[in-house]
Amino acid sequence: MLSFENISHGLHNWLSAIMSETPVVLIELTLVALAAITLFAALGLILVYMERKVAAVIQIRKGPNRVGPMGIFQTAADTLKLVMKENFMPDSVDKFLYKLAPFVVMITAMLILAPMPFAQGFQIWNINIGVFYVTAISSISVIGVLMAGWASNNKYSLLGAMRSGAQIVSYELSAGFAILSIVALTGSLNLNDIILSQQDGWWIFKGHIPVWIAFVIFMIAVTAETNRAPFDMAEAESELTGGFHTEYGGMRFALFFLAEYINIFIVCGIGATLFFGGWMPFHIGHWEGFNHVMDYIPSSIWFFGKTFFLIFVIMWFRWTFPRLRIDQLLNLEWKYLLPISLFNLLLITVIAIKGWHF
């Protein structure tokens, strides 16, 4: 069967056969970079379109429906508009940092993509400490936001940056603990090992209620970390007009915008991998026939299906809930989520040690 695994391995073997190691590495680096950028662009287009359609359904309206069938080319047209736009810059900004900030946010998002297992045996970098790597790199993205907010020389931007700094630093803890609970159950940081440990059932089914709690906390924390409503304090358009990207326009703004969607994809991908078995197909006990049918669905479809389901959930949040206030947001983290996730981690550790999970 044609799968991503075979394609990538075949390509590697073919390249190694015809040339020495250095050019192979160089060519493969270029190919990976190109693939990542293409994936980025495609994800951006699809997710923005999806967000607009989801919003439209929730808001009893039609959404984009003019450009192309069902309006599928709307985001492409929007991108074209953003590219054509003048890249204006206000006076008295810190020019270097102002220009750098969108790229920092973007590159960070790209880096986290590396250990993502998109399909069986298909992954840019099978790093040993996958989950820890993701947590580590995602903490850089806050720097880009802080940079943008400070360099814009605008009080709204500064307030937005301060908010987002406080928010991301706090919610990283809860997200980290939620991830740790799965790590405790699996005993490995490697994303592939985590997926393989779910061969006989996804953790969300195997791990009793504590894993459900961890999952809910994870979803809340990553929504906050990606600055999505109801935790979009950094933008808060009705309070800070645009927050940290108030002064950005054109393609520079588009990079922030795109990075937000890529980040959503990444956190949902991680969520799907940790709790829903990544590219593992859905199996039920000893229903051999059913399981066999499920196995026929390619692993990449399973991964993207689960990820997009979680993305839909996050979009659903956004279009239903009002925004929290900054102090309520921090209270929620420090007074509720953090103690709960600490206790929950303890519980899960006990379950893991005693082997009480299925």
Partner: protein
């Protein structure tokens, strides 16, 4: 203004909210002094949409000046026109036909519902929930369609004239209003599920923007803003005009004094308005829709004051006449202006996010403030 920015204390930050800001819903300019994110002081700076309607009215006839009031509080256009028409009628001692009164009150209440629905959506948007706006506009659209059918306009109605209404109602009016009531009653629960019962929403609103009853009176607030503080001030009850003395409805008063009370007052008021319309819509009497008046209205010498309850509070029309065809002086006591004056008191010590929520519950319409 410049000196205030420079005299801000160490560690404090002065920020301009507006005149172009998504949550001021117009060109309101607020100058706020912040300590971190906590508001220390707020000063409104008005006049960005000041058209000097009061001065203009001094050279308009008593038929014409009513139309300029549609542009004041454009969401309560009918009620504004009604108040002006009443002032002229009172001075001229014109008897308004029964049919006209019925039409007027029905349209007033429809206006109130439409205004509250716009407020409801906009306020949810201020709090960061974007969807309720569309739900509110689904019902509001029906009302504006009825208005368009009846008066030919969707926003600036200009339908009430001294002595009655300008034209008779459309033949479909009664049917469409009844359809609206059915639709509204089936959907109003959705409002509660979507917004009122939401825990984030309640946390954002409860115990925020406190305005005690005493302060509410001292700041001259009126309408739902004052009624949310437990002050009875519905002109329809305290100084009944038109048909209101004969109608069965309750004055909605909440005693929480916070943003959530003001919110509840408006949501419950919509239900009361529907109740009023239900009492009237089946019994519109036959007859004239406008009393016979002279072509040129001349008011007797003297001072006349009429009050009406708009969606935002008490509108006062104060006419000083020298006996001519134009008023000598007109003062519109607009509810928004007084309500805005309480804002500084209400937001002190709260966060920027609260400012937006509190401003949302005041339901400010900027042309009403600037006139």
């Amino acid at each position: 203004m410049i000196e205030e920015i420079t005299t801000a204390k160490e560690g404090e930050m002065v920020i301009n909210i507006g005149p172009q800001h998504p949550s001021t819903h117009g060109v309101l300019h607020l100058l706020i002094t912040l300590d971190g994110e906590t508001i220390k002081k707020l000063e409104p700076n008005l006049g960005y949409i000041h058209r000097s309607i009061e001065k203009m009215c001094e050279s308009l006839s008593y038929r014409q000046f009513i139309y300029s009031t549609s542009r004041m509080d454009y969401l309560s256009a009918h009620i504004n026109n009604h108040a002006c028409a009443m002032a002229v009628e009172k001075a001229m001692e014109i008897e308004v036909p029964e049919r006209a009164e019925y039409i007027r009150v029905i349209l007033d209440e429809l206006t109130r519902i439409a205004s509250h629905q716009l407020w409801w959506g906009a306020m949810a948007m201020d709090l960061g929930a974007l969807s309720p706006f569309f739900y509110a506009f689904r019902e509001r659209e029906v009302i504006t369609d009825i208005m368009e059918e009846t008066c030919g306009a969707r926003l600036t109605m200009n339908y009430m004239v001294p002595g009655g209404v300008m034209t008779d109602i459309h033949p479909n009016f009664v049917k469409h209003v009844k359809d609206f009531i059915v639709q509204f009653k089936s959907k109003i629960d959705e409002y509660d599920t979507l917004v009122t019962d939401n825990i984030i929403f309640q946390n954002r609103m409860k115990n925020v923007g406190l305005l005690s009853a005493e302060d509410a009176i001292s700041y001259g607030t009126s309408g739902p803003t004052a009624r949310g503080s437990g002050v009875s001030c519905d002109i329809r009850k305290t100084h009944p005009y038109s048909l209101y003395s004969k109608l069965q409805f309750e004055e909605v008063i909440e005693t929480g004094c916070d943003s959530f009370s003001r919110y509840l007052v408006r949501v419950k008021e919509m239900k009361q308005s529907v109740k009023i319309i239900e009492q009237l819509i089946d019994n519109i009497p036959e007859g004239d829709f406008v009393a016979k008046t002279k072509a040129v209205i001349k008011l007797p010498k003297g001072e006349f004051y009429s009050r009406a309850e708009t969606a935002r509070g008490e509108l006062g029309v104060y006419i000083v006449s020298e006996g001519g065809t134009t008023p000598y002086r007109i003062k519109f006591r607009s509810p928004g202006f007084s309500n805005l004056s309480a804002l500084n008191h209400m937001v002190k010590g709260y966060k920027i996010g609260d400012l937006v929520a509190i401003m949302g519950t005041l339901d400010l319409v900027i042309p009403d403030i600037d006139r």
